[in-house]
Subunit: 127 residues, 2 copies
DNA sequence: ATGAGTGCAAAGTGTTTGCAACTAT
DNA sequence: ATAGTTGCAAACACTTTGCACTCAT
């Protein structure tokens, strides 16, 4: 473990999660960590399963720590109106996963999926 | 309706769907439709609800005609292994939608969501 | 010592925009 | 006539890569 990697992890742990690579990079500017390194590090942490990533609208990929120790498991909802990432109950896709498996042979990975819709505020505003 | 717009719609209708903007652009090269126009057109058709789009890994957004006339409704599964877009039963998220609404106030839009996982072939290969 | 990790700069995608010429209505 | 559409080229945002240097072990 090197300094830059520790720094990336700290950034993800410290701030509210779901950061883009560039946001992480910005947080680490003081620490002189290069953007390319941030990308490479996130990529590797992702492959190692330490962090999880997701492709959102606008083209930016967002990263966050995978499965926090104490029941931090959650799904991701992306509000198509305001862009927020909503944290949703982890078990919401259980039924769907079973259904897809038998119907199409598709093995769903709920943690990797992003559910699109309207967050509570925007839904209320939209009526 | 102008010629370029008709051409974009025809490209989406004619070929197997789920094309990237650039793929559409390639198909229309002969018709002298500029890439920028393709992007603008897809954007507009998307806003108009005629086509639906989805952000996949690799950063490319994929477009396809929304709700085909005869029961063409479907959900999208993205295989994280081979990158294919799998077509999944439209009702698979019904339970999830209800659950999220009551649990988090999140109003899920199933057609907009992409489910990530392994397609049948890759799941079989992975064991 | 040695192999992995890093900074840098440059290139690659995918997408958007300002503007002048054009076209459907 | 006029508002909307297109082509073009240039700009943007996000991400990846080759290479030489540095660092952890």
């Amino acid at each position: 473990m090197t300094a830059p990697r520790r720094a990336v992890l700290e950034a993800l742990a410290g701030r509210s999660d779901h950061l883009t690579a560039d946001e992480v990079s910005l947080l680490l500017e003081r620490a002189d960590v290069h953007r390319a390194t941030v990308y490479r590090t996130l990529d590797m942490l992702s492959a190692a399963g330490v962090v999880s990533h997701r492709h959102t609208a606008g083209g930016a990929t967002r990263y966050h720590l995978a499965a926090a120790p104490e029941g931090g498991e959650h799904l991701h909802g992306h509000c198509r109106e305001c862009g927020t990432v909503a944290v949703l109950p982890a078990d919401a896709l259980a039924g769907t996963a079973a259904r897809l498996r038998e119907a199409a042979g598709f093995r769903l990975e709920p943690e990797q999926s992003t559910l699109v819709g309207l967050c509570a505020e925007c839904a209320a505003r939209a009526g």
